[in-house]
């Protein structure tokens, strides 16, 4: 079509009425002229009129063709059919509510899930040229990662030329005082280049200058937008304020723009100034991020870091000789494999729910279509083409799906809002999840796709193949298609139900895993000692001692303990342990505990003793080891009974970053407590008395006599009596801590469980619909049978057998689906086979029962059929 005609066609849309009138006039004139000529040829006026019409051809058809030729007929039709579709929805509100509701659920869940996938996996990171942002780290073994020491970082920065900026960060938390209550806030100490790496400027004020991370610089701080709003009420004069962090006033120099940094845990950024003590090569504490120069590739950066490692070989300690340096894009590191897999599976599951929702709506449309086949036949008889009817039916389903899509967006927005807290915990801070243009475009695409899927099938079915058949009314073909749809729904639901059951079994197994501790009636919280008030390890040790005493004496408290790491919490810090007789260090996780720890958590001492009150600062240094470490020592040295052995152990300093390798005596072996997430073997752990190696960040663990939450005020009071300026953070019962550790498994389980429940409900609805329609259709047949002596129970069982047949075929197909997904599920399951017979059996049986229940309602209606009335009504 030429441009000229296209323009003319669009114009014709607006001149429709006038053009129609003109055409009418032309046709009349044409007929008159023809008639006149025919009369001139000697025909009677009657015959002349007939002849004229005959020669002209089918008038209406030619008018139609005229309209087709002059304009975009489909637009006209679309508008008309949409109006008609809306009107027919209004006429049948029951159908409209059910169909739109089902679609809204299906589309809404998918849109919400998409916004999550989009935020976490698809969208580029919310920084300028995010592909250039990388993380650089020590890899002791391929695939593992280790923090970086100060001198290593400074060498990298000096030698690496491919980075526009390279920065180091260390997390901190501090008491923010000077407002009302002291609050604990999180922050990051970063080198001055940090914001250049992320290419983020300040919204107010500025970020750090290169001098500000040098020794002697005045203390300054940059706030996140959220922190500015939360703690300072969005004070526009914030740049003149000097909030007090851990007792020291910090000049606010800038506020970051809202966005990504608001979702980060950190709220305050201060310059990382290396003290002389921190300038070592053996204390690994820094996380390093860099921004590559434009044009520099990842491979080039890796190559250069390899060269730098080789250049630094001479100054590298023996135990680090094997370490390599790895570089990876930040985007790849933020979403771990597990999260990626969970998201993908959940997205797959929710897509299946949508499929079932589609099937249900298609089913409803088919049932409606069966009732409309006469209308269609009449339209055909009146001259509507097949394409035109198909167009009408598709437009009607489009109207339905667009309404469903709009409702779905509302559902999605509710879902996203409801899940906001869980999302912010599970997703990296860079993930911006919400309804934006991309999500809306996705919603529109889904609605259109669903319209095609839902509309196409019933449309083809509803088009009368042979006119006479439809006018007489026959719906045998409909029933077959609808049965096929229900079978498909049962199959897909079975896949979801089995998946959910397997995940719940996996969760159950995880919860049964021996944690090695007593978790009932235990509450935990964290305390950070500000360095201005507790500058020395001795001061800190005094605090622990009095805190343990006061806590134990507090009302409602049974036992209390202090440690640096909660049970079930992975321990990041590792140290070397040297035992006499071997050269190589054994890598151990380093955990500090006070005398109450093992008793409070019910961890049994297997050999020797635990940590006691006598192991104070200044007393001979001791260490208690777990079974895993004892086994490791037995492996390496052949020593069967480690108690009484001497060893050398790296002990971190209190404040300065560095390690003192001290002589220690191994005094006891405890039975292991679980450290990492289940499914992995316990790492070797060295438990060191907190009093001998104090640390400013600790966790309080309190066993209570009754409900642990009720004792929290008493615990706060006990701590306040020692130091009124200490904020308590992270209050959580041990059960909650455990729940958090399992959340990687419990969340997918609940999510897919919810999807499965919706799927089953929809499948049952579909089954009910088909059977109930069939019963209505067969009333007459049932009536005759009953008149001939069939009993109600015969009718009932006939219908239920019918239902059962559909369910069985669906289950077989569903099983095939379950088999096909074995490999995908395997990675998510803990000690459950993806083909666990129990789970599959339960899924099949429950699907069958639910299906029969759905069938029972129409079946019992059929059994109550009164032969006399039925036969009289329809005979």
């Amino acid at each position: 079509m030429t441009l000229r005609r296209a323009v003319a066609g669009v114009l014709a849309l607006f001149r429709k009425r006038r053009l129609d009138q003109e055409l009418e006039g032309e046709v009349l004139a044409h007929l008159e002229l023809a008639e006149r000529d025919a009369i001139a040829q000697g025909l009677s006026p009657e015959k002349a009129r007939r002849a004229a019409r005959l020669r002209f051809g089918a008038i209406e058809q030619i008018k139609e063709e005229h309209r087709d030729r002059r304009s975009f007929r489909w637009i006209e039709n679309l508008l008309r059919d949409s109006r008609y579709g809306l009107a027919s929805l209004v006429r049948d509100p029951g159908f409209a509510v059910v169909a739109i509701g089902v679609l809204a659920l299906g589309i809404g869940a998918n849109v919400a899930m998409f916004s999550l996938v989009d935020g976490a996996l698809l969208k580029p990171l919310p920084f300028r040229e995010p592909d250039r942002i990388v993380r650089v780290w020590h890899a002791p073994r391929p695939g593992s990662s280790n923090a970086t020491s100060t001198l290593d970082f400074l060498d990298w920065k000096r030698l690496a030329t491919l980075f526009e900026a390279l920065s180091a960060e260390d997390g901190f938390s501090a008491a923010l005082t000077g407002n009302d209550e002291p609050v604990r806030v999180s922050g990051k100490a970063v080198t001055a280049d940090y914001f250049r790496v992320f290419a983020t400027g300040a919204r107010l004020g500025r970020t750090f200058t290169p001098e500000e991370d040098q020794p002697g610089a005045a203390p300054v701080v940059v706030l996140s937008y959220r922190a500015w709003r939360t703690y300072f009420g969005g004070d526009p004069g914030i740049l003149r304020r000097r909030p007090i962090l851990d007792g020291q006033a910090h000049q606010v120099i800038g506020v970051l723009p809202p966005g990504a940094f608001d979702r980060d845990e950190a709220e305050f950024w201060k310059p990382l100034v290396f003290t002389p003590e921190q300038r070592t090569r053996n204390y690994h504490w820094l996380t390093v991020y860099g921004r590559l120069h434009a044009g520099a590739t990842l491979d080039q950066a890796r190559e250069q870091m390899r060269a730098i490692r080789a250049a630094l070989a001479d100054v590298t300690s023996i135990y680090k000789r094997e370490w390599t340096i790895d570089v990876e894009r930040l985007a790849r590191l933020l979403v771990g494999d597990n999260l990626r897999r969970s998201i993908t599976i959940a997205f797959g599951a929710v897509a299946l729910v949508l499929l079932i929702a589609c099937a249900n709506v298609a089913n409803l449309l088919l049932a409606k279509g069966a009732a409309r086949s006469k209308e269609m036949a009449i339209r055909t008889a009146l001259g509507a083409g097949r394409g035109r009817l198909l167009g009408q039916l598709l437009t009607e389903s489009l109207v339905l799906c667009l309404l469903g899509g709009a409702a779905g967006v509302a559902v999605a927005s509710l879902l996203i809002r409801g899940a906001a807290r869980f999302l912010s915990q599970s997703l990296p801070y860079t993930a911006d999840v919400g309804l934006d243009l991309r999500t809306l475009a996705f919603a529109a695409a889904v609605a259109l796709g669903v319209a095609l899927l839902v509309g196409a099938l019933p449309s083809f079915r509803n088009l009368p193949l042979a006119l006479h058949r439809s006018v007489r009314g026959s719906s045998g073909a409909h029933i077959k298609v609808r049965r096929a749809i229900v079978i498909g729904e049962v199959a897909v639901s079975l896949v979801l139900v089995s998946g959910a059951l397997l995940l719940f079994m996996s969760l159950f197994n995880l919860q049964q895993v021996e944690t090695g501790i007593r978790t009932e009636n235990v509450i935990t919280m964290s305390v950070d000692l500000p360095l201005n008030a507790y500058p020395t390890p001795q001061r800190a040790a005094l605090f622990y001692e009095s805190a343990a005493e006061r806590l134990a004496a507090a009302p409602g408290v049974a036992q209390a303990a202090i440690t640096t790491h909660l049970p079930l919490q992975s321990i990041g810090s590792g140290e070397g342990l040297w035992v006499a007789g071997i050269d190589e260090a054994v890598n151990v996780r380093f955990k500090r505990v006070d005398p109450g720890y093992f008793a409070t958590l019910g961890i049994p001492v297997l050999a020797g003793r635990g940590v006691t009150d006598r192991d104070r600062n200044g007393a001979p240094r001791v260490v208690v080891i777990n079974q895993a470490l004892a086994a490791r020592l037995a492996d390496v040295t052949g020593i069967r009974n480690p108690v009484g052995q001497r060893a050398r152990l790296g002990c971190p300093y209190y404040v300065e970053k560095g390690v003192l390798v001290a002589d220690v005596g191994i005094v006891g072996v405890i039975r292991g407590e679980r450290i990492d997430a289940p499914g992995r073997p316990d790492p070797p752990v060295a438990y060191v008395p907190l009093a001998q190696v104090p640390h400013p960040k600790v966790r309080l663990i309190v066993r209570t006599q009754a409900d642990p939450v009720s004792v929290v005020p008493a615990i706060r009071e006990a701590i306040r009596q020692i130091d009124p300026n200490l904020p308590l953070g992270d209050v959580a019962t041990m059960q909650e801590v455990r729940g958090r550790m399992l959340s990687g498994t419990s969340r997918p389980a609940w999510l897919i469980g919810a999807f499965a429940a919706v799927a089953v409900l929809l499948a049952a609805l579909g089954l009910y619909g088909v059977l109930s329609h069939a019963v209505t259709q067969q009333r007459r047949e049932i009536g005759i049978r009953m008149a001939l002596g069939a009993r109600s129970s015969d009718v009932l069982s006939h219908i239920l057998r019918n239902a059962l047949a559909m369910i069985m075929v669906g289950l077989v197909l569903g099983m095939l689906g379950v088999f096909a997904l074995t490999r995908v599920m395997k990675s998510l399951l803990f000690q459950v086979s993806p083909l666990d017979p129990f789970a599959l059996a339960v899924a099949c049986v429950s699907m069958t029962l639910i299906g029969l229940l759905a069938g029972f309602i129409p079946a019992s209606r059929a059994a109550r059929v009164d032969p006399v009335t039925t036969l009289r009504d329809e005979g």
Binding site: R4, E26, A29, A34
Partner: protein, 112 residues
């Protein structure tokens, strides 16, 4: 199909209309249809009405122009005439047609 009548070959109605207007000048729809029938010696099975959809298309292409006039029965009707572009189009269409028929003719000779 009857031996004596043939349907308008596909796509040639446009050509017939253009040629008619070229030869006869300004005509209304009925006259165009009649003229085509007469020239074909009434061997063409043409629904007279089908010229109207063809005319609207030709008009939209800009090949013919419409003027309002009065018919022999005293009715206001459209009179159609060729535009410059229409004349050009006619030459192209005639050339195409001759090329196509020549090809078919050659083909039929070669095969017989």
């Amino acid at each position: 199909m009857s031996k004596d009548y043939s349907e308008v070959p596909y796509g040639t109605l446009d050509l017939l209309i253009l040629k008619t207007l070229d030869t006869m000048g300004k005509l209304h729809g009925y006259a165009i249809a009649r003229r085509i029938e007469q020239v074909s010696g009434d061997t063409l099975q043409l629904s007279q009405g089908s010229v109207h959809p063809a005319l609207i298309r030709l008009e939209q292409e800009g090949w013919i122009r419409t003027d309002w006039g009065i018919s022999e029965t005293n009715r206001k009707v459209k009179f159609y005439s060729l535009t410059k572009a229409g004349r050009r189009q006619l030459r192209v269409a005639v050339a195409n047609w001759e090329q196509a028929t020549a090809l078919v003719a050659r083909f039929l000779e070669a095969s017989s």
